[in-house]
């Protein structure tokens, strides 16, 4: 290896500040340093809100407006980044530096087709003509494993599932063979098989093309599998940095130890998730306790009676053409799916990205009308061909946590008001003041500062937003929560806390969860029963332990085999 080549990225003593509206100053990143050599994958892990995304943005000169590089330096390929303009001489964003943003839902312009968003980069930087760029776009779509790439090239972002969008974003980032890729949680929305495919792609690019990759992730398994080096951040500071095997096996910093300890295990089921410094977070624990107490309901029984029943559900999406009425394309996203969820259980729904999980969740929550089949809640139909009927207590009973934390919070309303909404609406608190304290409790329960209530959504990191939307769902004190990847954007420690909370609520109040997740470890830890889906169809349904110990369907087997775990650390396998 030619070490004379300058490192693709060198960050030295970086400090990033956000001036606040009240005149204060918030330091998001403090004295952070790291170096990425060509061909190296550098993982950046840490608590949600620790400043990982901020570092990535700083590298690309795309810090959110008031944010600024206060001190320190960034070199890209040996060239110094000018902190005011946010660009380095001779380094072209998109060609030399590729970016994958954390949020797949909002990274794509809703008004343009996938094809146009993919090809425009190629045409700009590589000066390809239309036909050539289309061919290349198709290759990229295949490379990131999107099924039916021809059709999906013509699709608009809202017509793709979360994972599919994420892959489009990755494809766009890689399209021009950059030397540095900043990948902010590129695989959170992906199922393990696709994740494995993407990770392999990244590894190949690093090995063959000598690309340096800054990989932000929460998934320690992923880190273990492909990263060469790891940096762990906590509250804006780097707490530990080093070769993957060393850091994962022998963490030195307290936080690093706790974080690694919190990684959920796939090989066995535990009662509770191990949590980072639960003692230290006394307030959050108290808040959780309070919520648990409040949510206690006399009628809540874990009697195992059937609470939700999905019968022969089919959902078609019709993509209509431009001219109204012209024959559109009909796509069956959910194909004759039936399952039952019992009261007080955690029912898991897993499957490849784009297989129709979110669609089912939407039907259950009453947001999408089924094409045929129906959904019963406690024996009463809530959705069927005739439409969606959710009246009275039913509305409160079923709540949902959305896959995408970015667009599920209204950007113009203060967090406090958003959270207070269901509480006030269902008169769950006798007074406004009471409601406010409930809100504060909810916020603390999901591990945020109570003063977050006064802020707006845009000032939170992805993980923080997701926690807020969980808090909102809990606020309504529902009987059934449909959780669409509730923790995919959370770091393992926060994830553990949240999942513990949900679990506890289940135990104490008989809360039922319909849990959609890609993280099989989480699923194993959480679920009582699991359904596996592929291409809109239910392929296997079994009790959790049974499924993990003896998967029946070949697809399930494949999924299980691909889960990245801490046991297979890259550095070590190479050495071994």
């Amino acid at each position: 290896m030619s070490n004379r080549q300058p490192p693709v990225l060198e960050i030295d003593n970086l400090r990033v500040e956000y001036p606040l509206a009240n005149g204060g100053l918030f330091t998001a990143v403090e004295n952070a340093s790291l170096i990425i050599q060509p061909g190296e994958i550098h993982a950046l892990v840490g608590e949600s809100g620790a400043g990982k995304t901020t570092i990535g943005n700083a590298v690309m000169g795309l810090l959110e407006k008031p944010g600024r590089i206060a001190s320190g330096s960034i070199h890209i390929g040996g060239k110094l980044l000018d902190p005011t303009s946010g660009s380095a001489d001779g380094v072209v964003l998109g060609r030399d530096v590729g970016a994958v943003f954390q949020d797949p839902m909002t990274s794509l312009n809703p008004l343009f087709t996938v094809e146009s968003q993919l090809t425009e980069t190629l045409r700009t930087h590589l000066k390809m003509d239309r036909a050539a760029s289309r061919v290349r776009a198709l290759e990229l779509m295949k490379a990131v494993g999107i099924p039916e790439p021809e059709r999906r090239l013509k699709a608009y972002p809202h017509q793709l599932s979360g994972g599919q969008r994420q892959r489009v974003v990755i494809a766009a980032a890689l399209s021009c063979d950059p030397t540095l890729v900043v990948a902010d949680e590129p695989t959170t929305a992906l199922d393990v098989s696709v994740q494995a495919q993407i990770l392999k792609l990244l590894r190949d690019l690093a090995d063959n093309r000598r690309i340096g990759i800054l990989l932000v992730t929460h998934n320690m398994g992923v880190v273990a599998q492909i990263a060469d080096r790891v940096t762990i951040m906590h509250r804006g500071k780097v707490v530990e940095s080093g070769p993957t095997a060393e850091v994962l096996r022998h963490p030195k910093a307290e936080y690093a130890k706790a974080l690694i300890g919190a990684v959920p295990r796939i090989d066995m089921r535990l009662d509770r998730f191990p949590v980072v410094g639960e003692e230290a977070k006394g307030r959050a624990a108290d808040a959780r306790e309070a919520i648990r107490a409040k949510a206690f309901r006399a009628d809540a029984t874990i009697d195992g009676s059937e609470i939700l029943s999905v019968e022969n559900l089919c959902v078609d999406y019709v993509t209509s053409g431009l001219i109204p009425g012209s024959k559109g394309h009909r796509f069956r996203a959910v194909d004759n799916v039936s399952f039952k969820v019992r009261s007080g259980e955690v029912f898991g729904l897993v499957g490849e990205s784009g297989c129709g999980k979110t669609t089912i969740a939407n039907v259950v929550a009453g947001l999408v009308k089924p094409t045929s089949g129906r959904v019963l809640y406690q024996g009463k139909p809530v959705a069927g061909e005739g439409g969606i009927r959710r009246v009275g207590p039913l509305r409160q009973a079923i709540q949902m946590i959305f896959q995408d934390p970015y667009s599920s919070l209204n950007s113009r309303i203060r967090i406090g008001s958003i959270l207070a909404e269901p509480i006030l609406f269902y008169r769950l608190a006798p007074s406004r003041a009471e409601a406010e304290s409930d809100v504060a409790q909810l916020i603390e329960a999901v591990g945020l500062d109570a003063d977050s209530a006064g802020r707006y959504a845009h000032a939170f990191s992805g993980g923080q937003r997701q926690r807020l939307s969980i808090a909102r769902a809990l606020g309504a004190r529902p009987r059934l929560i449909v959780c669409d990847e509730p923790t995919s954007s959370l770091d393992v420690s926060v994830q553990a806390q949240i999942l513990n909370l949900l679990k506890d609520l289940r135990d104490a109040t008989g809360l039922t969860l319909l849990l959609i997740s890609h993280d099989l470890a989480v699923v194993r830890q959480m679920c009582d029963r699991i359904a596996v889906m592929k291409s809109g169809k239910l392929v296997e349904e079994a009790a959790a332990e049974a499924l993990f110990q003896s998967p029946q369907h070949p697809y399930t087997q494949e999924l299980l085999s691909l889960v990245p775990t801490l046991d297979r650390i890259r550095g070590e396998t190479e050495v071994a």
């Binding site: 005149g23 009453g366 509305r395 709540q399 667009s407």
Partner: protein, 303 residues
């Protein structure tokens, strides 16, 4: 980590100088209009004080000026400054009132149409089409004609403004409705709306609390711009005989009257009222833009 600098008052309001100036200007104009009864040197609505002899005296600061009339007099011998103060009152009441009324109706109906879609959408939009088929002026003639037929005092200086407000608003709401409807359709498809739908909030609340703030941008733009148009529409209507009586002129009417004299070198009758209107609209727009940005939390901290 969270170092709080002590912010002073100006920082807290956070408005740049230009906005402060604009707000001040708007306040002065509105204040003068409201307090016209006390501030104005003469009462231009009192017919018995008109002295035709004093007609068309140039402003006091010009060579032929008369120190009694700071900004000169109009073609009837009214003190222009006083006439403008009283006129501004009428114009602000009518223009502002009409814009407010139109925007409220329009935003409300637009939200409903965009949120629910289907039949109710078609109904509201077709009503809009009907209304658009009539020019503002004709519709206003109709409204005030009916008002006059129903109660005879409609033509007086006290009642005419109310009728004018309705007459103008009845046409203008459509623009807001259609704009808000389009924006609402986009917002309704977003996750945060889905989220509150799942919470089970009724449509009314979702629309007003969640969607409304996200669709207000264009509404503010159109409203601040329409203010000028409404003031001028009032002038046209007064000309057609369904507005304010000529003995109680508005800013718009003064401009219209003054316009007839521009050729003959009597520039001040048109210029000063027009200037006042321009300044008012300018100020309202500057403040409106700033408010709009303030409303948008993402831009809150940006200067």
């Amino acid at each position: 980590m969270n170092t709080l600098a002590s912010p002073n008052l100006i920082m807290r309001i956070g408005a740049p100088i230009s906005v402060m100036l604009a707000a001040l200007l708007a306040l002065v104009i509105v204040g003068c209009a409201l307090l016209a009864g006390w501030l104005a040197p003469y009462d231009p609505t009192d017919l018995s004080t008109f002295e035709l002899i004093n007609a068309e005296i140039p402003p006091a600061f010009t060579a032929d000026g008369d120190s009694r009339f700071l900004l000169g007099t109009d073609n009837q011998g009214r003190d222009l400054l006083s006439a403008m103060m009283y006129g501004a009152r009428v114009s602000i009441a009518i223009g502002g009132g009409a814009v407010l009324l139109a925007a409220s109706i329009g935003v409300f109906l637009g939200l409903i149409a965009g949120y629910f879609g289907g039949r109710i959408d078609a109904l509201i939009m077709r009503i809009g089409d009907v209304i658009l088929s009539f020019p503002t002026i004709l519709l206003a003639l109709l409204v005030s004609g009916i008002a006059r037929a129903l109660f005879p005092q409609a033509g007086t200086a006290e009642w005419a403004p109310l009728i004018l407000i309705c007459a103008i608003a009845i046409h203008e709401w459509v623009q807001y409705a259609r704009t808000v409807r389009a924006a609402t359709m986009v917002e309704t498809a977003k996750d945060y709306v889905k989220a509150v739908k799942v919470i089970g909030l009724p449509g009314r609340r979702i629309m007003l609390r969640h969607i409304l703030p996200n669709v207000m941008g264009p509404v503010l733009v159109i409203a601040t711009i329409n203010l000028a148009a409404a003031v001028l529409t009032e002038a046209t209507l007064s000309f057609l005989g369904v507005g304010m009586p000529p003995t109680y002129p508005s800013l718009g009417t003064l401009i219209r009257i003054g316009n007839e004299f521009v050729f003959s070198g009597i520039w001040w009758i048109a210029l000063f009222p027009a200037l006042t209107l321009v300044l008012l609209v300018l100020a309202v727009n500057v403040v409106g833009d700033w408010l709009r940005d303030r409303f948008n939390p993402k831009l809150r901290v940006k200067r």
